[in-house]
Every structure is written in structure tokens, then in C-alpha cells.
């Protein structure tokens, strides 16, 4: 298997050092004019290095050494800095790439749903040799990505800018063909990020345009709907909305007619747009109607294709399934989910947007004037006739709400702000941490894409609370749509006076900028994040001093997670008591989870703290697939743990999860059924952490690799019994000794699986993989009930099954790569894996 073979491990260092394109002795000289122009635009200071590298790569497709040298010549960026930074982050490449880039997601949900097989198939199909990443003709470069954050569509492949969900070994080649077809997905992407003002009062067709929805074709459907409305002249607004949450049903649309209950459709194809429009809205003018219907009828006759009825896609919201998914949810961070156009500022304002910020600003400024004795005679302290939130009062409210950081560790937000407020100094920073790097998590992406103004408001309030005038969004580059939407939202806020020199007409300057991450999980750790914004290698440093004391550029800095910030405006609008009414004693409010993996109804959910794992998996998610057994949930990604089904009644709150060995994490929840091998899961996460470790401290850099060594031996059936003891001991040492949170929590997946699934480890020592996942330990065999249908032989990619029609087939185990294709296609369950 590609992902597990040590020989195939990608070494960034190797790539960076061997920078000359191999097999191509005559290197065509590179036009360096672009570099010079870019330097003029971006700047010459050392902190320009990451944007400079990003633009250079965008232009050349990779980072030519000549270009890097030229940058060093004409800027204050040193060779050491450029070599160090460009080899640290995933996105930078030092070798030329193929024409197209295929990014294969290696997130948790994708891993448990067969991403390795998809990658194997694509490699075989494209003729990319093992150990290489590009085919000899340089058409395709295959690139593993830690997580694309489309977990409900797992396994996911991104081809250039297009995302394909539910990939499989069987449909991989079809996917490629679709991508390469003229006018196919590869030929461009509809624009969905322009600013919009939606007309008010019209009937609406709401369509979710989050990254996940678009991966399932909602962008094409959106285009077709707009076209159909235009052609039929229907008086209806086709409205782009954010995430709908029900990712398992996308593309999903809602037909909302004022005064009537909404009608939902799921899984519509772009070709069905017109029929949908006609079904609900009478066209203006009989002729148009007739001509439209005539066209449609003619089309179906000529195409001779079975026309699926639009009505078949209607969803009954009263139906148990939909009710179960929605009933237990409480929408605070995701308020207005599925209703609001992400970039319609007027709509945001109409629903109470920026109300809390305005109060905070006026309160802060009034308070400041009072302190300085500058209130003019007769000037009222309270100007709106409503309570204003002076900064202290505002922090008090957040404290009272019991809000804790949603990024993982759960540090109380109010006290953090108070610490930062107490720091002296003119310059302070607030940072929104959108570096959601955990494989299996996509909450932050959905929030940024769906509710950009809300996050801006949260960050602005944090700034006012601590007295900062600069806010920075740090968003991982794997989330291009989130970046675009936040960028568009900031621009509009500036235009409309919600950001800038005087925010909301008050004398309070507030600027916001975006820094795009360059691909490094460790940059979610706050000191590494700061290093990354300062354009250094994202290596964490020892705390204290904490960022609230010495953060970005040595100034007091508050770093909050996206979801934390999304909750803030609601708390201020509804009061801390309303928020604290949800949740448990120590964990207040709600938590957004990305529910994915082996589950019927995956999606984005927001539930009150204290909801049990069982309620989430079985009621909201509808349980694991038919005939499968619920085995465990992986919560918290590489820092979290596996909670076994027998502990499914554990309530979701910070302390309960910690007690069972997991952590809240940022909210990735990957459900595992009986096909998941727990040793393999532990190996998967250690593979991730040892690769994502910044490589600074001994425990994390070497310790996680040594743990992985042991796990790899176990998965290959070469483990020894005493190695379990050593694995456990080393896990504890790495947890205790590592410098930052990444290393300290990296052993959790190992420790929890050792704690709850020790028998599986024992089985591997005895040479068995009970789940049939570890390739080195399983054999495929055709059973007697084989009818000789030859499907397995046809699907086998390595010709390990000779074609013997009408008689029982057999598998040559010396050739078999355990790719599982035969078992998947067999109509008679005649393939045994043991």
C-alpha cells in the first residue's frame, strides 16, 4: 500500500535538496521578470517570504531555484529563510509538476472509506510509477493532502480546482474521463463568490453552495436554475445559501414561498432545473410556458433517456429521517443555516448582524471618553437608550456565558480576553484561527464559507474587548472558497463602514487582513501559527510567555478558533444566560461537529454540549450502514482518541471526553464500523503526526516515528508481544515530554486503542487482523458459491484472478495486492477475506 510503505514516504527534505528536474539535463532558462514584479507588489522585507513563495509557485507551477535565488538577491529575505520556509510547508514544490494536479485526500473519513485504493487505482490508471508523483508524460501529478475537509463525501479527490466526492476504485477512471472531457468539470468553474444583494420578499429557491455541496454538483445546478428562471421568466429568486448541514443529501435545495412551508429536494441533477422551476412557478406568458414545455418534451423524446421525475427527489421534512437529523440540533454558531446568502450583507444586518459589535464599539468609546474625562458637558454616556457593552462588561458577559475555546483545549474565552486586555501597550492583535488541519474536521471551513460576516463580527468584538485595532484571519490554503468569501466579506465591510478607520461611525479604527496558511497541521498550535504569520517555519515555542503576553511580533495577541468567534455575537445579543442554558456544568452552549465516516447521515451538526455520542451517531446520524456494527467514534482527530461503542453513552463535554482518553478537539467525529481495524487507525494517525511534526523537539520528532515503527510492524504481522509494553511506555513519555500540544496529544489515538481494543493488538501479534484491513495479514479467497460470473476477474487490476467463466474462480495470492476490488464487485458474496 502506498501510504504505508516506508520507501514511498515522501521526504520534503529530499525534494528540496534534489531540486533539479530529473531526467531533463537541459534546463530551459526561466523568465524571472515575474519575480521582480511580484517583489515590487509584495515587498522586500523578510516577512514577505510566504506570500512571495505562494505567488511564485502559482506562476511557475513550482519553485524554480533560479527564482528563489533572484528573490534573495533583490529582497531582505535570506537564502536560509527561503530554503527553510519553502521546505517546511506542504504546498511548496521544488520540482516541476504535471499539467493537472490530483489531490487525494488522506483525511480520516477518506482513510476509513478506502482512499488508499482510490489512490492506487489512479496511479495505475495514469501510469505513475511507485515512489514518483508524476507520470512520465507530465500530464498528472498526484499529491496526497492531509484533509480537504469534505469528509461527508469521502473518499474525496480534487482534480485541479474541482472536487469529486464518493470516489472509489471502480469509478476513479470514470471520474478522470469526466474531468478531462471538453466542457467537463476540468474546463472551468462557475463563479459563486461575487458579492450579491438579494431582492427581498420574492419566493426563493435556496441552494447550498458550500464546498461539499459544490463537489456534488450544486454549482452546476445553481447555474441551470438561474438559466431556467430567466428563460421561463418566473418571479423567483434563485438564492445561494451557505451550508445546509445535510451533506449526505446534497445537492439540496429548498423552495421557499412566503406563507407556505418550505419544500425540500435532494440529489437533483442540473438537467432537472427547468422542471423544478416549472413545477412551482407559473411562467409569465402562455407562449413561454408552452415553448418551454415543448422543448422539454422534445428533449426527452430525442434523448431517449429515462427521465427521472423531479417529484421523486422531494423530501418530506416531516419524515422521521429528516426530523431525527434536525430535531436534536440547536443552531447558534450555525444560526440561519441553509437560509442566508453568505455574502448578502443586508440580509445579515436584517437578522441582527453587527448589532452586538455596534454596542460594544459605542460602549468602549464612551467608556474611554469617560475615563479620560473627555465627555463633553451634556453628552450622554448612553447614546442608544440601550445598555452598551463597555469592554470590561463585555468580557464579563463572555465569562458569564462559560464559553470555552472550540479549537480543542477548551481554554475559557473570557479570561483569555481579560488577560490580554490587562497587557499594557498600544499595539495588540486578534487572530482568527482557521487552520483547521485535523483530518476529519470541516466545521471551521463551513462556518467561514457560510457565515463570513458573523465570524468578522466575532473577531471585531474580540478586538474591541482587548483594545486591538488589527485582526488577522489565518486560513489554510486548502480552503480556497473560505478564503475568497472572507476576502469578499472584508472588502464589503470596509466599503460599508463596518471595518476601517471609523467602524460603525465610531472613532475606533479596525483593520482586518487574511493570511493564507501554506499547509502544515502544526500551525493550528498558536505559537506555530504566529511563527507562520511572521513568515517563519511554523515551529512552536515554549510557553510561557503565552501569546496574550507576547504574541505576534512580540505584542499581546488573542487567538480564537472560528467557531468560538461565531458564537460570540449570539451570546451578546441573547445574553450569557441564554447560552449557558445549553450544555453541562463545565461545558456550556453548543458544539459544532463534522459527522463523517461509516455513517448513514453524515453532515455538519450543532448540538448542545452534553448530548451523548449515542444520540449523535444513532439518532442524528442514523447509525452505521445496514448490516454493520457500530464499533467506535474517533473524536478530536490526531490529538483525540477512539471512544468504543460500549462507552457511547458518554456525554460530549470537555471533561467527560478527557476522562475516556479522547479530547473535544475541534469537532471532527469519524464513526467507525466493524470493518475498521483499530491498530490501523492508530497507525494512520501516527503516520499523520510524525509527518506533520515540526521536527523541533526530540520526543515528537523521533518519538512519534518510533511509535509508528512499532505500529507498522504490528500491521505487517511482525510485532512482538513486548513491543506493546514498549509502545505504551513510549506513548506516555512522548505525551509527557513533548514541547507543544501536537506532541503531547499525538499518543492519544494509540493509548485509547490500546486501552479499549487491546485484543486487536494481541490478534495482530498472533498474525491476524480481525477487521481484514491490514494487507500483510489477510488473504483473499473465492468461496464455493462462486457462479463464475467473471466480474472479479474483470475488476482485478493486477490480473491475479484468471478468467474462468461458469466455474469457480481462484485468486493467485502471490499477485493479489489486497485491493478489495473483487469483494466489492462480487454479486454473490463469494469472496472471503481472512
Amino acid at each position: 500500500m502506498i501510504a504505508t510503505s516506508p520507501a514511498a514516504r515522501k521526504s520534503r527534505a529530499d525534494e528540496a535538496i534534489v531540486s533539479a528536474p530529473e531526467g531533463n539535463r537541459i534546463v530551459t532558462p526561466i523568465d524571472l521578470k515575474f519575480v521582480e514584479e511580484a517583489v515590487e507588489r509584495i515587498g522586500r522585507e523578510p516577512d514577505a517570504v510566504i506570500p512571495m513563495l505562494q505567488e511564485t509557485q502559482e506562476h511557475y507551477g513550482y519553485l524554480p531555484e533560479e527564482a528563489l535565488k533572484r528573490i534573495c538577491e533583490i529582497t531582505r529575505i535570506t537564502p536560509a529563510a527561503i530554503a527553510g520556509v519553502s521546505s517546511f510547508y506542504d504546498m511548496f514544490r521544488h520540482r516541476p509538476v504535471g499539467k493537472h494536479i490530483l489531490r487525494v485526500c488522506r483525511g480520516t473519513a477518506c482513510h476509513v472509506t478506502g482512499a488508499e485504493r482510490v489512490e492506487d487505482t489512479l496511479r495505475r490508471h495514469l501510469g505513475i510509477p511507485p515512489g514518483e508523483d508524476t507520470d512520465p508524460e507530465r500530464r498528472f501529478t498526484i499529491e496526497p493532502v492531509a484533509c480537504l475537509g469534505c469528509c461527508t463525501l469521502a473518499p474525496v479527490v480534487k482534480m485541479d480546482h474541482n472536487t469529486f466526492g464518493h470516489a472509489s476504485a471502480e469509478n476513479a477512471s470514470r471520474m478522470l474521463a469526466q474531468f478531462l472531457a471538453p466542457n467537463g468539470a476540468g474546463s472551468g468553474q462557475p463563479q459563486t463568490e461575487e458579492e450579491r444583494r438579494n431582492a427581498v420578499g420574492l419566493p426563493q429557491i435556496n441552494i447550498g453552495l458550500g464546498s461539499c455541496c459544490m463537489a456534488k454538483g450544486s454549482d452546476r445546478l445553481f447555474e441551470e436554475l438561474q438559466k431556467s428562471v430567466e428563460e421561463t421568466g418566473a418571479q423567483v429568486l434563485v438564492k445561494r445559501v451557505g451550508c445546509v448541514g445535510m451533506c449526505h443529501r446534497t445537492p439540496m435545495i429548498e423552495v421557499a414561498i412566503p406563507g407556505k412551508p418550505g419544500v425540500f429536494y435532494s440529489g437533483l441533477a442540473p438537467g432537472q432545473a427547468r422542471e423544478l422551476v416549472l413545477r412551482h412557478f407559473k411562467p409569465r406568458g402562455l407562449m413561454r410556458n408552452l415553448s418551454g414545455l415543448w422543448d422539454r418534451a422534445l428533449d426527452s423524446v430525442l434523448n431517449d433517456a429515462p427521465v427521472e421525475k423531479v417529484a421523486n427527489h422531494a423530501m418530506d421534512t416531516k419524515k422521521e429521517e429528516v426530523c431525527a437529523f434536525l430535531e436534536k440540533q440547536v443552531h447558534i454558531a450555525t444560526e440561519q443555516f441553509g437560509k442566508a446568502d453568505p455574502l448578502d450583507l443586508d440580509e445579515f444586518l436584517a437578522h441582527g448582524g453587527f448589532e452586538a459589535l455596534a454596542k460594544c464599539l459605542r460602549g468602549a468609546v464612551a467608556c474611554e471618553k469617560k475615563v479620560q474625562g473627555m465627555l463633553a458637558a451634556g453628552e450622554k454616556e448612553v447614546q442608544w437608550g440601550e445598555p452598551l457593552f463597555a469592554a470590561e462588561e463585555l468580557i464579563g458577559m463572555i465569562e458569564k456565558s462559560g464559553l470555552r475555546g472550540r479549537g480543542g483545549a477548551g481554554f475559557p474565552t473570557g479570561p483569555k480576553w481579560r488577560l490580554a486586555r490587562r497587557q499594557s501597550g498600544e499595539v495588540k492583535y486578534v487572530i482568527c484561527n482557521g487552520d483547521e488541519g485535523d483530518p476529519g474536521a470541516f466545521m471551521d471551513r463551513m462556518l467561514l464559507e457560510s457565515f463570513p460576516y458573523r465570524i468578522i463580527e466575532g473577531l471585531a468584538i474580540a478586538a474591541v474587548a482587548i483594545g486591538a485595532h488589527e485582526g488577522i484571519f489565518y486560513i489554510r490554503h486548502e480552503y480556497p472558497l473560505a478564503v475568497k468569501r472572507i476576502r469578499a466579506a472584508i472588502k464589503l465591510c470596509r466599503k460599508r463602514g463596518w471595518l476601517g478607520e471609523r467602524v460603525a461611525g465610531v472613532d475606533y479604527p479596525l483593520r482586518m487582513t487574511i493570511k493564507e496558511g501554506a499547509g502544515a497541521f502544526v500551525c493550528g498550535e498558536e505559537t506555530a501559527l504566529i511563527a507562520s504569520i511572521e513568515c517563519r517555519r511554523g515551529m512552536p515555542r515554549l510557553r510561557p510567555p503565552f501569546p496574550v503576553e507576547e504574541g505576534l511580533w512580540g505584542k499581546p495577541t488573542v487567538i480564537n478558533n472560528v467557531e468560538t468567534l461565531a458564537l460570540v455575537p449570539w451570546i451578546l445579543r441573547h445574553g450569557p444566560e441564554a447560552f449557558a442554558a445549553y450544555g453541562t456544568k463545565t461545558s456550556k452552549g453548543t458544539k459544532v461537529f463534522a459527522l463523517a465516516g461509516n455513517i448513514v447521515r453524515g453532515g455538519l451538526i450543532e448540538i448542545p454540549m452534553g448530548t451523548t455520542i449515542r444520540e449523535i451517531v444513532e439518532v442524528i446520524g442514523g447509525g452505521v450502514g445496514p448490516g454493520r456494527q457500530f464499533k467506535a467514534v474517533q473524536i478530536g482527530g490526531p490529538s483525540g482518541g477512539c471512544v468504543p461503542a460500549k462507552l457511547a453513552d458518554t456525554p460530549v463535554d470537555y471533561e467527560s471526553l478527557r476522562d475516556v482518553g479522547a479530547i473535544m478537539g475541534s469537532g471532527g467525529m469519524v464513526v467507525l464500523d466493524d470493518r475498521a481495524c483499530m491498530v490501523d487507525i492508530a497507525r494512520y494517525f501516527l503516520q499523520f503526526t510524525q509527518d506533520q511534526s515540526c521536527g523541533k523537539c526530540t520526543f515528537c520528532r523521533v518519538g512519534t516515528r518510533r511509535m509508528l515503527d512499532i505500529l507498522e510492524r504490528l500491521c505487517a504481522g511482525k510485532g512482538q508481544r513486548q513491543e506493546l509494553v514498549e509502545l505504551e511506555r513510549l506513548s506516555r513519555q512522548v505525551g509527557a515530554g513533548s514541547l507543544c500540544g501536537l506532541g503531547k496529544t499525538a499518543p492519544n489515538p494509540v493509548l485509547t486503542t490500546l486501552r479499549y481494543f487491546r485484543e486487536e493488538y494481541e490478534a495482530h501479534i498472533e498474525g491476524r487482523c480481525p477487521a481484514g484491513k491490514c494487507a500483510g495479514l489477510v488473504k483473499y479467497r473465492v468461496l464455493e458459491n462462486c457462479t463464475g460470473c467473471t466480474l472479479c476477474a474483470q475488476s482485478c487490476p493486477v490480473n491475479a484472478i484468471p478468467m474462468t467463466p461458469y466455474s469457480r474462480h481462484f485468486i493467485d495470492t502471490t499477485k493479489c495486492t489486497r485491493c478489495d476490488s473483487c469483494r466489492q464487485v462480487c454479486p454473490h458474496n463469494a469472496i472471503e477475506v481472512k
Binding site: 521526504s11 520534503r12 527534505a13 529530499d14 528540496a16 535538496i17 531540486s19 531555484e65 528563489l68 535565488k69 535570506t78 537564502p79 536560509a80 529563510a81 527561503i82 530554503a83 527553510g84 521546505s87 517546511f88 510547508y89 502544515a520 517555519r537 515555542r541 515554549l542 510561557p544 510524525q690 509527518d691 506533520q692 511534526s693 515540526c694 521536527g695 523541533k696 523537539c697 526530540t698 520526543f699 520528532r701 523521533v702 518519538g703 512519534t704 516515528r705 518510533r706 515503527d709 510492524r713 513510549l730 513519555q733 509527557a736 515530554g737 513533548s738 514541547l739
Partner: protein, 518 residues
């Protein structure tokens, strides 16, 4: 500057604000191990060997500032285990031998590469110092030793091992002719005395050691001539009698007093010896059960019963070694056993707990693959092994020089000056604990004499920081991420190009042997 009190392992100490825990501990005389800390660079927090426990958490002491009332644990088992693990993890990817295989295999622990380097530099006197410091009877061993060193010689996997024993014999015999023969230094007289019963290889080796430690030694033997079992080698013509006599003479000159013709049990009793001396060492060679019991000693089927860890017999103050404990053939092993017992006696005389000395710590690289061996041979002299007579004949010093030049210097250039090695010894680290597959051997010899061995780099970051501070034009940087991070010069530059201003400084502060001068 405000001062306040903290406690380290229960010891209270006044410190100044702003000081690091590492610095504070140093004041108290507590040596917290550290590899990546250099004051000039500030805390780099990379090696994490300097962990201490504060408030229930392990933290690096180099980067943690003292706070009033801070309670620090440094000497607990938990802290030591964590430090040891950090060292062991570093060793799991460490490629190289601290001590050369020949050195490690020598039962007497002779630093062979040092001897060979002196020969190569035509410093024969100094070569003999290296020999004599480890070997009690070098000219005897130069003839009788079964030279396990040569079995381990890496040169042997290429063509033939270096002729270590013959070269050792050559420099040792030369000393006989010297107008200024070398005598090892002795410590100031301790006022303690030891009687050694039996003037064979074990007894003489022990005596040689005890004399160096400043103890007065008397060797008694029932024979008329000293030498014990070595006399048998004379009979079999393996050892010329004049060489044995010259060697005994050399020992006499060093201060060994012989009393011949004295038989234990007849002329003297153990009790009597214990009244006259502070300790007794029995090295009489093979001894029958009845004879031993008659002396009041407990016996095993092989010989005198001693505690393996202390060489102590059942009679307090009486030690035994060599074939009188267990029959042995190889003379070098007998001498090594004699010296080990002498080390125990030394501790006994100082009133310290007796513990047989362990082997010096060394990382072991193991067998080299073909490609690695080629790299290892880079710059080596490809001349064939000389014949024994060419080396040992007194007129041919040239052959010795050539032969010594065949040495590949497998020992680490920083051995003895390496923090990693030092702390590994202190913490009893097992260098191979987490190593399942060794990283390939690499070394880059630069034209200006800087040698970079990536396999010995622990990524402490000191050189990266020093080059940055000195504003090197190219400098060094970390390349890559995760386990694969390494230190390199940018743009495929050589290490030398990266170290234009700072080579000497970086070599000096490299905590291991990753950066050295030729």
C-alpha cells in the same frame, strides 16, 4: 533585580528573577543534562534532555524562568527516565561509533586509533603513552594477545585488518631502547597498602593499576621467578624470555616490589596478611577446592567464590581474580580481570561502595553496507597490509607509518568531547533501544577541513542560530519537516559555503560529532 527563593530537589536556593531553572540548578551544583543550550543563542528547546518537573509537568529547564516559590524536581526517577528516553530517541537515529570497534573490543580498552594516529605522525613516544596507559605488559601482549581488536577492524571488511598488535609491539619494544623510557603517572600516596598473592598476568595487571592509584603494593609468589603462567609461554617459545624479563624489569622500575618464594598457607596466612595490609588480592592461578577451603575461602567447582560485581571473597578485605576464580586461557582477558578486581579494591580502600566498572558507553554503528563502506573509505590510504616482520624489525619505521595510515579512524572525532556520549554514560542510556533500522552512514568532507556527518546531527539548531546571528551570506537552515528535517546549506550549497565566517564557532559548539575539523 529582585531575588527570591526556589527549591530544587528539596534544596532551597536564592535566585535572581529572569534566571533559567537550568542556570539556577548549576549554581546548586546540579548538572542538568542539556545538548541544545548555548547562552549566546538563548533557549532553543529542541533536545528536551534538560527536562525537570514543575507543577506536575515536565518542562525544559533551559527555557523555563524561575518564579518565586517554584518547586523543581530534577533528581527523581520519573525525570531521569524522561531524560534517558530523550537520549535513547536521539540515539535511535544516530549513525556512528563513539569508540572505534577495535577500542571497544579490546578487553583492556586500549584507545587504538589514538596510538595509530601518533605513529602516523611519527610520534612513537606518544604512541607508547597511549599503549602503556591501557596495557600493563605491552611487549608481552604484543606477542601473546589474540588481538580481538583486529577481528572488529572495519578495514578488514574492505581488504585486511590493520596490523594493530604488531604495531603495538613495535612501539612497546622501542621503549626498551629509549634513553628516556616512559613511566605512567602515579597519584599521591594514599597511605593504603595491598598485597597481591601471585605474580602472574592477573596479579601484575592489578598491581599496575593499584600503583597508579597511589597505593603501596607488594607482590608475593611461591615461585622463585615472577611471571606465573607467562613462564609457560616462554617454555613454548611464544614469548622470548628476555622480553618477559625486560617487561618485569619495566614493572619493577614503575615500583612493583616482588617477594618471591613465599607460599600462602605455609609461609603466611590470610589473617596474617590482613593484619599487615589493607587488602589482599589472590591471583595464584588455578587452585584446588581443598587448598582454597584450607585458607578459609568458600569455593565453587571452578575456583574461589567471589561476588561477580565486586570480586570480593567471603573473607572481608580479601579479593580474588584471574584463573583462581575461573580458569581462563587468553592472557589479555586474565589481565583485564586482574585490573577489574583492582578497581574494586581501589573503591574498597576509598571506603566507597564497590561496583565493578561497566564498559565505557559507545554508540555502535554495526556493519556497513557496500555503498556505505565505499563512502567510509573515501580519502583512505589503499595500501596493502604490511608483513609482521616489516613492522617489527627495528630498522623499518617506514613500514609502521604506512601500516598505521591504513587505519580508517572509525572512532568519532568528538569522542570524549561529546555531550551526548557523556550524558548517555551518566544516564545509562541504551543506544539501540528504539533502533530497528539504522539510517545510512553519510559524511561530507569539505575542502577546508570541516567534516559534516548528518547521521550525528541531533538538530539542536545551534549552528543554524549562530550562522543567522553572524549574518552568513548563505548560512545553514533546517530543511524539511517532521522526522525528515535535516540541517543543510540552502540551494544545495556545501556546509563549508554556509559556514564562511562561523566554521570554528559552529564546530566548537556542536554538541556532538556532527561538525568537526579534520
Amino acid at each position: 533585580m529582585s531575588t527570591f527563593n526556589i527549591t530544587i530537589d528539596g534544596h532551597e536556593l536564592a535566585v535572581e528573577a529572569g534566571q533559567t531553572v537550568l542556570g539556577a540548578a548549576k549554581k546548586l551544583g546540579i548538572d542538568i543534562p542539556n545538548l541544545c543550550y548555548l547562552e549566546k543563542c538563548g533557549p532553543l528547546n529542541s533536545c528536551l534532555v534538560c527536562l525537570v518537573k514543575i507543577n506536575g509537568k515536565l518542562v525544559p529547564s533551559c527555557g523555563t524562568k524561575v518564579e518565586p516559590g517554584m518547586k523543581i524536581e530534577s533528581g527523581t526517577t520519573e525525570v531521569h527516565e524522561a531524560r534517558k528516553t530523550a537520549l535513547e530517541l536521539l540515539f535511535s537515529e544516530h549513525v556512528g561509533d563513539c569508540l572505534s570497534p577495535c577500542h571497544r573490543l579490546c578487553p583492556l580498552g586500549m584507545n587504538i586509533p589514538v596510538m595509530l594516529r601518533h605513529i602516523q605522525a611519527r610520534k612513537f613516544d606518544e604512541a607508547f603513552v597511549a599503549v602503556r596507559d591501557a596495557l600493563p605488559m605491552p611487549s608481552v601482549l604484543g606477542r601473546l594477545c589474540h588481538h580481538p581488536c583486529e577481528q572488529g577492524c572495519r578495514r578488514g571488511t574492505w581488504d585486511e585488518a590493520a596490523a594493530i598488535r604488531d604495531l603495538e609491539r613495535r612501539v612497546s619494544d622501542d621503549d626498551f631502547e629509549s634513553s628516556n623510557p616512559y613511566l605512567p603517572p602515579k597519584k599521591a600516596p594514599s597511605g593504603k597498602s595491598v598485597v597481591i598473592v601471585g605474580a602472574g598476568p592477573a596479579g601484575l595487571s592489578a598491581t599496575d593499576y593499584l600503583l597508579r592509584q597511589g597505593h603501596a603494593c607488594t607482590v608475593v609468589d611461591r615461585h622463585e621467578l615472577a611471571g606465573g603462567s607467562l613462564r609457560k609461554e616462554v617454555d613454548s617459545e611464544a614469548l622470548p624470555v628476555e622480553i618477559l624479563d625486560a617487561e618485569l624489569d619495566r614493572l619493577s622500575r614503575f615500583g612493583v616490589k616482588f617477594k618471591m618464594g613465599v607460599t600462602l598457607g605455609m609461609d603466611v596466612t590470610l589473617d596474617g596478611l590482613l593484619r599487615g595490609f589493607d587488602a589482599v588480592l589472590i591471583t595464584v592461578g588455578e587452585i584446588g577446592k581443598a587448598d582454597g577451603q584450607a585458607l578459609g575461602l568458600e569455593m565453587t567447582p571452578g575456583g574461589i567464590k567471589v561476588q561477580a560485581e565486586t570480586s570480593h571473597t567471603n573473607v572481608p578485605g580479601v579479593f580474588a581474580a584471574g584463573s583462581s576464580v575461573k580458569p581462563m586461557n587468553q592472557v589479555v582477558r586474565v589481565m583485564s580481570e586482574g585490573r577489574a578486581a583492582a578497581e574494586c579494591i581501589h573503591m574498597f580502600l576509598l571506603g566507597k561502595p564497590i561496583q565493578r566498572k561497566g564498559k565505557p558507553f559507545s554508540n555502535v554503528m554495526g556493519r556497513l553496507s557496500k555503498g556505505e563502506l565505499d563512502k567510509f573509505m573515501e580519502g583512505a590510504d589503499l595500501v596493502k597490509r604490511a608483513k609482521a616482520c616489516d613492522i617489527c624489525e627495528t630498522y623499518s619505521r617506514k613500514a609502521s607509518l604506512t601500516e598505521a595510515s591504513r587505519c580508517l579512524h572509525c572512532d568519532c572525532r568528538s569522542s570524549g568531547d561529546c555531550s551526548l556520549q557523556t550524558y548517555a554514560q551518566v544516564y545509562g542510556a541504551d543506544a539501540s533501544r528504539y533502533r530497528h533500522q539504522r539510517r545510512p552512514f553519510e559524511q561530507k568532507v569539505q575542502p577546508g577541513g570541516v567534516i559534516f556527518e548528518p547521521g550525528k546531527c541531533i538538530l539542536c539548531g545551534i549552528c543554524v542560530k549562530l550562522t543567522e546571528m553572524a549574518q552568513e551570506e548563505l548560512g545553514l537552515t533546517f530543511v524539511g519537516r517532521g522526522f525528515d528535517v535535516r540541517v543543510a546549506a540552502p540551494f544545495n550549497g556545501s556546509i563549508e559555503e554556509g559556514l564562511k565566517k562561523t566554521a570554528a564557532e559552529c564546530v566548537e559548539h556542536c554538541p556532538t560529532g556532527a561538525l568537526t575539523f579534520e
